[in-house]
């Protein structure tokens, strides 16, 4: 399970951002996760309390948007939403597609308590 390692990386980044903005309390952390990132949102949620203990994010809420997998066909140019192990064109069936979204593993936004 590498989700704990990912959570620790999130906490490092978020703590850094909080310090930059002179905040000691992180309230909300928004993530965007695509299935092809290899990170499981549910496992991130369960690992998060272990990683955030005794940090500025100790009481932070972790909010994860799950993004769909979308591909564009190289031959017919159609765009389709596909499943994780079948990235083939939904229109013509060609397997030669380009990923448009679905591999995201992003820290999108952080909300902080500040003095002013």
């Amino acid at each position: 399970m590498h989700e704990l390692a990912v959570c620790q990386s999130i906490i490092d980044q978020v703590s850094h951002i909080a310090a930059e903005h002179q905040s000691h309390v992180v309230e909300k952390i928004y993530l965007q996760i695509g299935p092809l990132s290899g990170v499981e949102p549910d496992l991130l949620q369960s690992a998060f309390p272990l990683a955030c203990a005794n940090t500025a994010a100790a009481k932070a809420e972790l909010i994860i948007s799950k993004l769909p997998i979308r591909v564009r066909c190289k031959s017919c140019q159609a765009e389709s939403e596909v499943s994780i192990n079948r990235l083939v064109c939904g229109t013509c069936g060609d397997w030669q597609t380009t990923l448009i979204s679905g591999n995201e593993m992003l820290l999108e936004r952080v909300e902080l308590q500040t003095e002013h």
Binding site: M1, H2, A5, V6, S9, I10, D12, Q13, I17, H21, S23, E27, K28, L31, Q32, L36, S37, G38, V39, L67, R70, V71, I84, N85, R86, L87, V88, W95, Q96, T97, T98, L99, I100, S101, N103, E104, M105, L106, L107, E108, R109, V110, E111, L112, Q113, T114
Partner: protein, 281 residues
């Protein structure tokens, strides 16, 4: 995924950057900072440093990933036997415990650094960085990184390598690419290993394994090989030599070589980065 060239901006999140500034206020007065940074940005930063380090010394670095017991170390032993008098190799071995694999490589006269990860299920760029500093890169042509045997976690961590090789042994089943799509999608080559056993197995079809890989939109070459009988070894050796040549051509043009999976985001992500030499080793 990196945080410098905009590859993390997708059609799904583009509006956030276009509409909002970096810092705004929520209705209840909290400070809200839009970040859009990869969750593993520290690892990615270290990986990029590693890659620059490899490129400074012109060492093609190949990440081997597979299940435990699919024959990564046996492949390396046979590759060293086949090419060891023409090319200079080193190996970084990742395992939870023991020095066994490193000892097997050293017995072939090739330097090997063992990383014992303890309970960690994957190598990361920092672990590889520490190991690299125990090697004399100036003497090497190819560095192999034998990742921890695991078809899940290693695929999420950039180590600074140039190519991914995923091994699928014929005893594992031809549906592994469908079961572990993140890993097999990342493969620049899929090696079907222990191919000498195909004649006694009636349930592994190479054509099915290929179809399952293509269903991931992955055009990677597929080779059926056996480290034991050397079946398919000419093709494998030719591929390695070709990749080394291709890598050196890239370097000569001042370009950096990345695993091909990053080509997928072609419209958002340059396939090559301008090479910067770090100020220190």
């Amino acid at each position: 995924m990196c945080d410098t060239c905009g590859c993390n901006i997708t059609p799904g999140n583009k509006h956030l950057i276009e509409i909002k500034g970096k810092l705004s206020r929520t209705p209840d007065g909290k400070a809200a900072i839009d970040v859009l940074q990869g969750l593993l940005s520290e690892n990615d930063h270290q990986a990029q440093h590693n890659r620059e380090h490899f490129d400074k010394h012109q060492v093609l670095t190949i990440n081997l990933m597979s299940s435990p017991g699919s024959g990564k170390t046996a492949l390396l032993e046979a590759t060293i036997e086949a090419l060891g008098d023409q090319l200079s190799f080193a190996v970084i071995e990742g395992d939870l415990e023991t020095e066994n694999d490193a000892q097997r490589i050293r017995a072939k006269g090739v330097p090997a650094i063992q990383i014992s990860t303890g309970s960690a299920c994957h190598l990361d760029a920092h672990m590889v960085h520490s190991a690299v500093h125990q090697l004399d890169l100036g003497k090497l042509d190819i560095l192999f990184i034998e990742n921890v045997g695991n078809l899940v976690c290693p695929a999420s961590f950039d180590l600074g390598h140039h190519r991914n090789i995923t091994l699928l042994s014929v005893t594992e089943g031809d549906d592994k690419p469908a079961k572990y799509p993140v890993m097999f999608r990342a493969a620049d080559v899929m090696l079907i290993t222990k191919a000498d056993l195909l004649e006694v197995l009636d349930d592994f079809r190479c054509a099915s394994a290929e179809q399952n890989l293509r269903n991931l939109a992955n055009p990677a070459p597929i080779m059926e090989i056996s480290a034991k009988t050397r079946q398919g070894f000419n093709e494998w050796i030719n591929w390695l030599e070709h990749e080394l040549h291709h890598y050196r051509q890239h370097l000569a043009r001042g370009e950096q070589l990345h695993p091909k999976i990053q080509v997928d985001g072609h419209d958002m992500h340059g396939t090559q980065h301008v090479l910067h030499h770090p100020a220190h080793d």
